[in-house]
Amino acid sequence: MSLWLLLLLPLVGAVCVFLANASIAKWISLGVSTLVFVLSVLMAVQYGEWGSAGTGFASHVAWLSQLGITLDLGVDSVAMLLVLLTTLLTPLCVWGSFTAITSRRKEYYAWLLILETAMLGVFSAQDLILFYVSFELTLVPMFFLIAIYGGKNRAHASVKFFIYTFTGSLFTLAGFVYVAWQFQLSQHGVWSFAIHDLSQFASAMTASEQGWVLLALLAGFAVKIPVFPVHTWLPLAHTEAPTAGSVILAGVLLKLGTFGVYRFVLPMVPEAVVAYAPAIAILAIIGILYAALICWVQDDVKKLVAYSSVSHLGFCVLGLIALNPIGLEGAVLYMINHGLSTGALFFLIGMMYERYHTRDMNSIGGLAKKMPVWSFFMVFFVLASVGLPGLNGFVSEFMCLLGTFIASGSAPTWPGVLGPEYAAIAAIGMVLAAMYLLIMVGKVVFGKLKEPDIEGQHTNLPHDVSPREIGILVPLAALCIWIGVQPTVLTDAMRGSVEDVLAPYPLIVQEQLDKPETVIIIEKEDTHG
């Protein structure tokens, strides 16, 4: 079994969908994506690198040998987990779109499957260019999903989404090529874009070079995550995207940014990461609090959840740059958990929207009376999102904050450059998260029943969620509980990879701490020079 099968199957499926009759397109795509999911689970069972630092299912295909570009695939344990997340969410998205999509159906399902290929490509690429190609390729299906099936303002939203993220990642590409060039210089003219080569080599660059590369890489990844202040495309895209689009966007696409940081930024430019970590952390914290306060005053439920993603991923970023295993494992866990719980929230909002054609909290309310099962799931996933212990969100949030908290210079084994003060301020975000999400629940789920006038656009859907919709939500809920109760299974699984990435850091942090004045000079050079 190879990753190629996993990658190409959705693509083949997309072609089949496109050629098939519109009425069976959804069944084909559901079948294909489910098959991919089953395959990925089987692969996960076979996977031999759980807990160790190795790369599994590695395969080599030469491509553009003149530039050292290959089509190498392979997954480490973190990537394998994210592959599983992707293959899980895609069939659910397909299934969730059965009633929502009524026009241009074939294209819709074809795009979803192409999107799956692209996302899997990102996680399984072992070559920078292959990574970049997949990374960018995700934009195209998403662009069309938003632009064809989105809300009223879809044209603007899709173009903004595309151009914003496209622009950012062009700089990332420049950064990649720069590193590859440096590698080529050191290798007497032999180019290579293999992640393995470059991440080993890049840490040999000078501090100021690393700083520039860091900025270039972050230009793409920070937009994708998104980190304050480059987040404004996200609420717009989320609000306008169709339900499945939002789910994929929140569930997987945002993780491409954090995964990029994990896969490239951390191993490639350690010195710069250490130098810039406080600045990034401050942006992340601003994002947490700022977006949380904005959530508070939103009227549009979907926009609220979209901003909450900005806030939540701030924790993830903190975990990433805490530079200790607990923080990094927490961050990876956060990626998965956010995908599950926020993805589910978008599903739920989509179900509501299908029935009432509005997402305005002022015109809808008290749905618990009419849709008790829906309300149950809504409250459940809100709590998962808020971080109630026993559910998944708690573990990752706790680990990210703990990682940040202990990431001070005085930590014995894993010194970092953050510390308790960062965690303490970020922790305010926990309160705010409870605030805005519960206010949302209080308005939409509880209170007096308030329904908008839906004359003339009556749907065939039942009042409460249908068995199909329950079928979508239950696996997500079950995973939320399972991860909440048994997070150790996942943290053990990713341990080796995480420690491998972090291995050079204690030394570098220690060096920087011993010479605090040089850190400042480097920063100055990097910002002005």
């Binding site: 030469a62 040998s65 970049y132 190609v133 899709s158 496209f166 062009l170 420049a174 090529v177």
Partner: protein, 499 residues
């Protein structure tokens, strides 16, 4: 001398083709007249096939040009894309006239037909590009460039019997003459600086001058003026001003031609001129800085200019300006990677740009050509193939991976960075980002928008341009599969002759 003639076999095939087309166009047999396009394609194909036989290693060892392998690469691809260009021009000339003859409403008159001439001119121009590869001195270069240009002036004028086409031809021709004079004067100064026309000798003289402290002032000014004159051919700033007008005025198929053949010619000539002074210790600072400024201006002005356009052809005209800017990065970066990147990019750009223009060329609105952006709104409902080809080619021009255009840009970026031109690459990145706006607009209009009253009657009526568009769109998608071999060929093309 005989050796050099041997290398000219592809050109000769194409020239024979031109003659055959010109004569065939006057034939009384309607079957022959209507199949002029096939004849042209046939000769181009023959030229294509001839290339590998002509360029055998033993033969090349005897060549005395600066870049002996260049011809193999360029001639092959120029002929190949030439076939696409001929296809996109299918049905352009004499369509109504031939229709009328078929219906019996008109009789054939050799004076009223133009299809044969058109194809002959087209082939002549392609032959000009091929000849540039074999240039070993300035005279040859000058004549080859003129051979490329002069037919295109006529093609613009005859592409449409409308006032705008004639205006476009007038502007193109007059400004072309001025720029040719500039280039010629530059050649004169180069001659003054070196005392010879032969490239290899000029390169030696310049090397001696550099060893003695730098290229002489005459040489520098001469290079600059010559390159500015050539900038007109590649539509690079500040010589790009004519391009939007001309590209808008000419019919889409001819615009596709203008955006590829003269551009390739100009690029090759610039590469040849730059190789006179060599990249070994960097181009002379004056030249490098000038090219730098030109590249930056071209990328930015081209992409910025496209933003506000309401005419598809004008928009794509600006886009092709911008692409010249990208290619200049490769020229500045120099061999091997930079020139390889430019050569690869020329092919990729040629294919995808042809696709974009061909998808416009196949459209008509109640028999009239289509120009405004609104006309292609909702195209996917009426002609999904044309709409998809347009979208794919725009995606490729924008450089969305994994389409063909991305790989070209990647190579240029890599070359730029490898030459230490970080700022240039960043400017290119910004420019690409700007370009996303209008490419997405084209994609959005063709694939996403709904039909408007104005665009209701726009349909894909011409068969051959549509086929050309689809083929080149397939190339844009599937091209990456053969990228590695193209790059290998391009690498060979920039090999210096063995001493």
């Amino acid at each position: 001398m005989a050796d050099r003639l041997w290398f000219l076999i592809p050109e000769l095939i194409v020239l024979v083709g031109a003659v055959v087309c010109a004569i065939g166009g006057l034939s009384n047999g309607a079957a022959i007249r209507r199949r002029i396009g096939f004849i042209a394609c046939g000769f181009l194909l023959a030229a294509c096939i001839a290339v590998p036989f002509v360029y055998t290693p033993e033969r090349i060892a005897t060549a005395d040009t600066l870049l002996p392998y260049l011809g193999k690469y360029i001639k092959f691809f120029a002929a190949l894309i030439g076939i696409l260009l001929v296809m996109s021009a299918g049905g352009l000339m004499d369509r109504k006239y031939e229709h009328a003859i078929k219906k019996g409403k008109a009789t054939f008159s050799a004076l009223r037909t133009s299809s044969g001439e058109f194809h002959a001119l087209l082939l002549l121009s392609i032959a000009g590009v091929m000849l540039i590869c074999e240039a070993r001195d300035l005279i040859w270069l000058f004549l080859a460039l003129e051979l490329v240009s002069l037919p295109t002036y006529v093609m613009v004028a005859m592409s449409r019997w409308s006032k705008v086409a004639q205006e476009a031809a007038m502007k193109y021709f007059f400004l072309g003459a001025v720029s040719a004079a500039l280039m010629l004067y530059g050649f004169a100064l180069l001659y003054a600086a070196t005392g010879t026309f032969v490239f290899t000798e000029m390169a030696d003289v310049f090397e001696a001058q550099r060893a003695a402290g730098g290229v002489s002032v005459f040489g520098q000014i001469g290079l600059l003026l010559a390159i500015f004159g050539l900038c007109y051919k590649i539509a690079a700033a500040p010589m790009h001003l004519y391009a939007p007008d001309v590209y808008q005025g000419a019919s889409a198929a001819v615009t596709a031609f203008l955006a590829f053949i003269p551009k390739t010619a100009g690029m090759l000539a610039i590469i040849l001129l730059c190789s006179l002074v060599g990249w070994e210790d960097g181009l002379p600072p004056v030249l490098e800085m000038a090219l730098w400024v030109v590249a930056v201006l071209t990328m930015l002005l081209g992409n910025i200019g496209a933003l506000l356009q309401t005419s598809t052809q004008r928009m794509l005209g600006y886009s092709s300006i911008a692409h010249s800017g990208y290619m200049l990065i490769g020229v500045i970066a120099g061999p091997p990677l930079g020139i390889v990147a430019v050569l690869v990019y020329l092919v990729i750009y040629g294919a995808t740009n042809t696709s974009a223009f061909a998808s416009l060329a196949c459209l008509s609105k109640d028999g009239a050509p289509v120009d405004s952006l609104e006309d292609i709104s909702g195209l996917h409902k009426r002609s999904p193939l044309a709409a998809t080809s347009l979208a794919v080619s725009c995606g490729s021009l924008l450089g969305i991976p994994p389409l063909f255009g991305f790989w070209g840009k990647l190579m240029l970026f890599a070359a730029g960075i490898a030459a230490g031109q970080l700022v240039l690459v960043l400017v290119a990145a910004v420019a690409s980002a700007i370009s996303a706006w209008y490419y997405l607009r084209l994609i959005g209009l063709s694939l996403l928008s709904s039909t408007t009253p104005q665009s209701e009657s726009v349909k894909a009526t011409l068969r051959w341009p549509l086929i050309a568009a689809v083929i080149s769109a397939i190339i844009a998608i599937g091209g990456p599969l053969v990228l590695s071999s193209i790059v290998t060929e391009a690498q060979q093309a920039v090999l210096a002759p063995e001493e």
